[in-house]
Amino acid sequence: MKLDLCLECARGDFRLAVDLHLEGNAAGIFGPSGAGKTTLLHALTGLLHPRSGRIALDGEVLYDSKMSLRVPPHRRRIGMVFQDARLFPHLSVAGNLRYGERLLPADERRIHFNEVVELLEIGGLLERPVRHLSGGERQRVALGRALLASPRLLLLDEPLSSLDRRLKAQILPYLRRVHRTLGVPLLIVSHDLGDILHLTDRLIILDHGRVAGHGRYLDLARDPRVSGILRSSGLLNVLRLRPVEHRPEHGVILLAFAGAPPDAATVVAPYHDGGDGEIDVALRPEDIALALERVEHISIQNQLPGEIVSIHQADSRILCVVNVGTDLLVDITYQALETLELVPGKRVWCLFKAHALQSLASDGENPSHIPIVSV
């Protein structure tokens, strides 16, 4: 996907002014409510008319105020999954799914009905009227319906915010699977950082109708201009771990950072039957403590050695980036920084309780706490 966006929109008193160039196959749009996230998506679909600007997707101009060009929504091939699903109540699940597919000439259908039904596990719902669906089922059907229109770009507008934690955890793996298997480029809007980081670490941060930051999550988290906005929803470390060795007789699994060399440090987790697939684990920066040496006689069992990469000050708190094989964000107080005389390059140990680790759902698996016991 290559998306050029230069837009100015007005909605009542609200103004959105955006100038962006996006490449890659996924990005998250993050920001507080009222930042203009949904307005931006609506302008992309063509449902909302910008005041001026230009939109081009993969080289095709969809909107250009100077040329008075405006491709109508139905010819943009930009799909959208709405927060409230918006299923057609007069059609069955199958009727909803096929709505966009039917409007497409057969040779332009890149995504096939059976494939989507199987991927989203909605085969058992096809004949049902949509009013009998649960919240999670509705969002899956809405996602399938958008996909079957074979969009060139799929927009997800807070697709999970109407769902509770449990349902969210059910949908996220589907989203990821769809994104990976079908290769449809995604733009996901959310005010929940965790939801976005599930799918991509490319972020666009919107605030008060402007782009406050744009880039990789870890870089943005270190950027004092936007870390405040990110922090408002709670910063997260997302660790991708790969099981190295199963020891059911000891009740543990050894895990290593995905992509790390074979001799790198491993972490030990209680045994769980998760197979050999990689798992994503979230760890909040304020749940990590720093020590200058390994601490004995302590209930905290996770101790990872590392080196301070950089130190950033935001408000009264300090954000350290520590490399433990992967970069970890660590949130400490200014007093701790002074006491430990922390400087970039210094060797430290990162300590965190087992229960601070929360697994983000991986493919086909429900999330659970995966306490990691020792290093």
């Binding site: 679909t45 449902l47 930009i78 799909g79 959208m80 409230d84 497409l104």
Partner: protein, 233 residues
Amino acid sequence: MSFGLGPEEWAALRLSAMVAMWCALAVAAPGTLFAWLLARRQFAGKGLLDILLHLPLVLPPVAVGYLLLLVCGTNGPVGGWLKQAFNIEIVFTWKAAVLASAVIAFPLMLRSARTAIELVDRRLEEAARTLGATPLRTVLTVTLPLALPGIFAGMVLAFARSLGEFGATIIVAGNILGETQTLPLALFSMLQRPGGEGGALRLMVISILLSYGALALSELVARRLRHMVGVER
């Protein structure tokens, strides 16, 4: 099985039912079209059009009948043209009765359909657009199916209103026995006749039963329709 009805009364009943049916069918399409225009479009003169379309609701039906007579009579602009081009005469036939009651019932159809269309969630229409539906297809596959219960309710209202239409009908269709004499006209004629009270009473009871039946049937069908399109209230 004459239920104590004379041939004159049977004829009036049959004619009324036929006229009302045609009336309901005649107002359906234009009523829905204008309802959609008023509910979903912005254009210059919308307010004026709105008032114009509602005029038959408040005008004296006799005035409407007289206007139709002027326009559709053999010497009128529309009537003259129809006579010349197709050799069709409207006034003083059952078609005039349909025309008269359709004009009178039009605002009822319009209001019912308009409310129904306004109640269709626009966000569903937006969803259809992002799925590749043209504006026309969106109307045909989302807006109208979801507004169907209201459109149908409008048709039933038009049917019921037509059963009771008197003023405009008598002017433009006349009161010809067996040809344009609908129930209300027959009732009126009987009341004019010495000793006709018995017949008038029977026709009054029939009118009540017919109207009641029509409304009850419409409620049943509307319920089914609402269930079908998934909007249950």
